[in-house]
Subunit: 393 residues, 2 copies
């Protein structure tokens, strides 16, 4: 028998208490969680089933699979209808208001749950879960720091695996391999269904300017129209920029980091834009203290870019991304979002990736991406790898 909880009970309590205090603000009696990332958050593991959290901070795990888990408040079910049967049999009254992940759970699933709680008001709890997860605990920050260290270790091996005449795809496959051998889990967890990616992207030359359907900062045509993003088989040649933005999920928590490589040297504009990206990261990470508005960071980046007359190539060229940074953690697209109309305000414990990037037609993408922890003194970088353009010669 394996214990359900894969985090300490005190860590689970910290996380549940965070959710509880947000529930109380909107008078919610209970939430019923079905999203894998949210179940991993409250239990430290993924299981098939539902986590039921009450306003007094009690968590019951209703599990379909795997078999043979033990622990407090573990209840096995065959179907969601069993949830209310078990609650009633335990003398727990059904909630007046129940939060579900309405931004994530399919319509049919929500309808089925609503039917088994017929006298209960169903409320959207997606925002609460997003907000709770945006403030990382000390333990979560340790896991993110560990991912950052391993992520940087993998990137430090990239120079050694390049061989002349590689395509961007061949280069990416070797980076995937060393990342996996260093313990990268591979899986790229993204909230929602609209974004898809396999293990990250290596983008070089003009492929950086190919627009993609996904809301990532960088595009790329991909190698197939079923997954039109990232490397497209371009032969790596001198004077091209090669941007590496590969998965940092080593601990269930993902750091996000991009670095630029080149064979031979890049032109003046690329070097200027790359330096500008490093400068933006420095300025924003110093500014990024608790209480500052996320959009103020965005505005500052635009100010620096405009001063440098680089606006036409900032965050894309043919197609532009609408943000320069985003929360990371269990998933790659968490809160806060660093975007012009973001309402997020930075708080201690936020973990944010900043990725002010530039696309230079004919050359490729330049700029850096780092992951930072918001501390009282500003943002602390946890993806510590050399930031300059790295020569592959």
């Amino acid at each position: 028998m394996e214990n359900l909880l894969q985090i300490t009970s005190s860590e689970a309590t910290i996380r549940i208490n965070g959710i509880k205090s947000l529930m109380q603000k909107i008078d919610l009696d209970a939430v019923l969680i079905s999203d894998n990332a949210n179940k991993f958050y409250v239990s430290g593991r993924v299981y098939n089933g539902y986590a039921y959290i009450t306003a007094n901070g009690n968590a019951i795990h209703f599990i379909r699979r795997p078999v043979e888990l033990s622990g407090d408040n573990v209840e096995y079910i065959h179907k969601p209808e069993n949830i209310t049967e078990i609650l009633r049999s335990k003398g727990i009254s059904l909630p007046s208001s129940l939060g579900l992940e309405l931004d994530l759970a399919p319509y049919s699933v929500v309808q089925r749950i609503a039917k088994i709680f017929p006298d209960t008001k169903i409320v959207n709890a997606s925002g609460i879960m997003r907000q709770a997860r945006s403030i990382k605990s000390e333990y979560e920050i340790e896991l993110l720091k560990l991912s950052g260290i391993k992520h940087a270790q993998s990137y430090s091996q990239i120079r050694d695996i390049y061989t002349p005449n590689m395509t961007d795809l061949e280069f990416q496959v070797e980076i995937e391999r060393i990342s996996r051998l260093n313990g990268c889990l591979g899986q790229f967890r993204i909230s929602g269904d609209s974004m898809e990616i396999y293990m990250g992207n290596v983008i070089c030359g003009d492929n950086a300017d190919n627009p993609s359907p996904y809301d990532f900062a960088m595009g790329g045509a991909g190698i197939h129209p079923s997954l039109p993003v990232g490397c497209n088989g371009t032969k790596i040649k001198p004077n091209m920029a090669i941007m590496v933005d590969v998965n940092g999920n080593y601990t269930g928590y993902t750091t996000d980091m991009s670095r630029v490589f080149s064979v031979g040297s890049l032109d003046e504009l690329s070097i200027k834009a790359h330096k500008c990206s490093c400068h933006i990261c420095q300025e924003l990470s110093a500014m990024g203290k608790p209480g500052i508005e996320a959009k103020a960071l965005y505005d500052k980046a635009i100010e620096i870019v405009t001063e440098n007359e680089l606006g036409h190539i900032f965050m894309g060229h043919r197609q532009k991304a609408g943000f320069i940074g985003h929360g990371v953690g269990i998933e790659i697209n968490e809160s806060p979002v660093i975007a012009p109309r973001s309402r997020d305000i930075l708080a201690i414990g936020n973990v944010i990736a900043l990725e002010p990037k530039f696309v230079i037609p004919g050359i490729g993408a330049v700029g850096i991406e780092n992951t930072y922890i918001v501390t009282p003194n500003g943002m602390e970088c946890i993806t510590l790898a050399p930031e300059e353009i790295i020569s592959l010669d």
Copy 2:
């Protein structure tokens, strides 16, 4: 300007006509598709937006990203509300009944769409799309055959990459690498959110008996509780069975294939069970003609297993899977499902993976998995690789 359609217009017509005839059966005026796999089905590419299909077989693609696509019936939108504005401006009357993918689309998304079609009855079109996609066109079958050929090519290299004292994870990473270099797209497309996997599984020894939360035939503990499936770092040793079940997505269409490897020889029970699996695949593929009930195939497999007194280890040991086969195509979990209570009936053009597997405690998983096309004469195997247990010595 790139053309939106990445399939010929006659191929698109074949697919749209399949959907249209299912729509007519339930009196549906239109469907609005947002799922990436379904958009890929109707257009041959993934884009961010919606495909709108009318009962007379007209398809309009409402696109948010990527920019710069051209083609008939391509309309750019910023938000879903633009869809009805554009329909009205083109003089197209809004539908009386509209099908949405209610089993897949989040509750909030469905609510928002329903609001912009205020006088329209919303109907669940998930089943229609599943059914349409379960009958593959000739072109789709060609793509599946091509995936099968490349899949088998990758598997033929597996023997050469094994080195003594590898762990299951190290072995898997090298299999991932050769698969990717052979053109595997990596992405494992699964309908719905509850199943997650990274590029497939290599499972050896007792890890085969570790139950997973996902509804896959084989479990495995995985290397992390955030993705508890597959290899777990077990050192490969003599007399263990090593089952390889790695991604066959080479064309946007996925073949599913498993093979067993061993160092040294396996015990009598494992060899008997493996032969039984091969025998089941032979019997079922001969039986699998158009018109036969999917559950009859399941029953036949159970009959053979029972005759051989292998029921206690069939489809798992501590935890059992409830099916022995499933449709494959753009996603790995399509219709029909070969399960005891399946209502599916086999039809020409179905593509089905059969995976009668056994878990032998102390040894590992044995058995084979192949992908088959349903033809008038039975099921034709398209994953043509040696089926016996392959020695790594």
